[in-house]
Amino acid sequence: MAAWMTKVGVYVCHCGLNIAGVVDVEKVVEYAKNLPDVAIAKHYTYVCSEPGQRMIQEDIQEHGLDRIVIATCSPQMHEETFRKTIAEAELNPYLLEIVNLREQCSWPHSEEPGKATEKAKELVRMGIARVRLLEPLERRKVSAEKSVLVVGGGIAGIQASLDLADAGLKVYLVEKAPSIGGRMAQLDKTFPTLDCSACILTPKMVDIAKHPNIKLLTNAEVTNVKGFVGNYEVSVLKKPGYVDGDRCVGCELCTKVCPVKVPDKFNEGLSQTRAISIYSPHAVPKVAIINPNYCLRLKCDKDVCGKCLEMCEAKAINFEQQPETIQLKVGAIVIAVGSEVFDASKMPEFGYGRFQNVISNIEFERISDASGPTGGKIHCPKNGEPPKTIVFIQCIGSRDKRFHEYCCRVGCMVSLKQAILAREKLGKNVNIYVCFNDLRAFGKGYEEFYRRARDLDINFVAGLPSEIRSTADGSLYFDVYDRGTNKLLEMHSDLVVLANGLVPSSDLGKISELFHASRSTDDFLLEAHPKLRPLESPTAGIFLAGACQGPKDIPDSVAQASGAAAKIIGLLSSGEIELEPLKAVVDKDLCSGCRMCEFVCPYVAIEMKTEIVDGIERLRAEVVEAMCQGCGLCGSACPASAIKLQHYTDEQVLAQVHAALVETKVKGGR
């Protein structure tokens, strides 16, 4: 359709006072009326409201409008809403241009209303220049696999898997460790109800193992991801555990005879296990696994030791086991890889790593847990004695510009819980202090939990120490200034527990590359929209659950996991998926086969094909439509302008640029 035949409707939204409080909307409308091809221009309080949308629909039908410009908030907010509006009025939804008068005009220029109005006019002029050249586009449907890959078997991955599997989708749950359970499995009790973590988690772990729709792959990692929403092809590397999972009965006789001691990772290195062992007391699957970095036989590659082999009655041990690559086809992916705990040795002033009696909060969990290295008895690591004074110190590595600026969102509640556990286990004669900056008890039942801690005679010091020192016998002393009393308290403590924050996993960079899931400035994975699309990554088909998206406690992780599962069920239930038509298209006659586009494409959506033209072999680029996310990198990289991005063609974009530079005054002219 030639641009000069168009009839453009322009709508300027007040957005209450958000736009109209700064920009003179009437002036913008008057200005727009005199621009080429504009048939109608109006302003309205809330264009997104029902009467606002109806106004546009009526104008389309009455005046035969064939292009719409809406000057309103960011297209991120309501472009989709307005596409539906004009589609209902039987206009192709892609003949719409959103001009951002809020985030890009009235908000940043609220101090200068006059200039903001001038800018608004220019932005509207640019929008009109572009809308005249837009072409109708159709969405396409592709079939979708009714199966899901869940990466990470912590509480978030477990919850997402169970919800998806219960809805009838096939789930592949991939876990890096030998058992699922994640961080939650390491905890003793959970706040604010003091439920035993294992009591509420283990049944869910068993459900995973038993569920007919879930295929559990432990000791495994995703190595390659190809494809697009609805049709992902995933390679998973299952590492050898050197024990036949179907035969092993979990009797642990092998662990008893194994001579090689290994630091127990599940117990944060506070105890030792053996080179062949079961990962944790509640492991699922409850199967022994051999650590090839420690096992004498595997390290030497000779027929040495073999004690476990002799002991195992089930004949489950197999030193010949090889790594196995499994190919999966899935429609969507949930990333639920969780977070890590901040390493407090990065803050040398607190002596973590130097003083044995300075421990981290996750180590306290293992010491307090009945199935942990001390059988649940809280004692000082240095001498094994129960502490007479315990001090908790908050905000370690969090709310700190030197490390992580964000609040870890769990540290306060974890320390309250641990202080309460210490009071319950050690009795009323133990002195318990919590040194805090701001104590944040924001969740449901959390403030009540804080009061419960005060009821139990736990002392709160409003101030953080600068450093911790140790005497030769391992007891600790430090000064801390208290805001409440205006006094410098000279504290002596047998045990100091640091409230280490949650930090992004060290392999999150690799994971973000593998799944094309971008990261936010805090290095966690980025959600598609902080308020309106918090459960998914900006890449279609990749969903986020749990602490990999930002620090979270258990209730929030579970909520996000169930939410992501519900979104996936909605996405895959019909078996087909609608794809946006904003894709790149190659003009074969212009393509020289230079491969620039293939090199720059972040979504591996360009395939190079060989063609025979006039008896000569020629290389040509081809866009795999379903994989293309419409980012436009190829279009700008192509030296021959052979690739154009639909809806953002060179002509359309340059018309907008031209309108920004040259004022169009004559109505009806081009």
Binding site: E349, C395, R399, D400, K401, R402, N437, D438, A462, G463, L464, P465, S466, E467, F478, D479, V480, Y481, D482, R483, L488
Partner: protein, 163 residues
């Protein structure tokens, strides 16, 4: 306490281009570790808060800002990069600019550096037998007073730093 003076606050903030004083969230790490707290009752967190609220003039005329031992622990430990040390130095400079109460020891130190080029004067040593020696009697080389250009450069530096 007197009324806040936001103009003086602005002067201090202008001296602290890179130091994010306003970010202080009163965690008290600075005061908990302050070398000058126990003997001289310097509370860095209080100074930051007073400046932030505009009570600059009281501080500039008080003795407390001269008690900082400049150990820089607060700079190292501050989680918000709000550095009380730099605020205290800015307050001292403001006091000097106003030609207000600068402790005599500071002025003495400055004039001594101007005259001798040394932060510490040469001292006599006393042996176990209570004999006293000076540099000359120990045949140590004589220390020459600084060149004239030193004095002018030193004064110039003082002026620049005071800005």
């Amino acid at each position: 306490m007197a009324k806040p003076n936001l103009e003086s606050r602005g002067k201090i903030l202008a001296k602290l281009s890179e130091i994010e004083l306003v970010n202080c969230f009163q965690c008290l790490k600075c005061t908990s570790g302050c070398t000058s707290l126990k003997l001289l009752e310097l509370k860095p967190h209080e100074i930051i808060k007073l400046v932030n609220l505009g009570f600059v003039d009281e501080l500039a005329s008080s003795d407390i800002i001269w008690t900082c031992a400049t150990c820089l622990k607060c700079v190292q430990r501050c989680p918000q990069k709000a550095s009380p040390y730099h605020v205290i130095i800015a307050l001292r400079n403001l006091t000097a600019e106003r030609e207000a109460k600068v402790p005599e020891e500071y002025l003495k130190a400055v004039s001594q550096i101007l005259e001798t080029g040394l932060a510490e004067t040469t001292q006599k040593v006393v042996t176990k037998k209570m004999e006293t020696f000076d540099r000359e009697s120990l045949k140590l080389p004589k220390i020459n007073p600084p060149k004239e250009s030193f004095q002018s450069t030193f004064l110039k530096i003082l002026e620049e730093k005071g800005e």
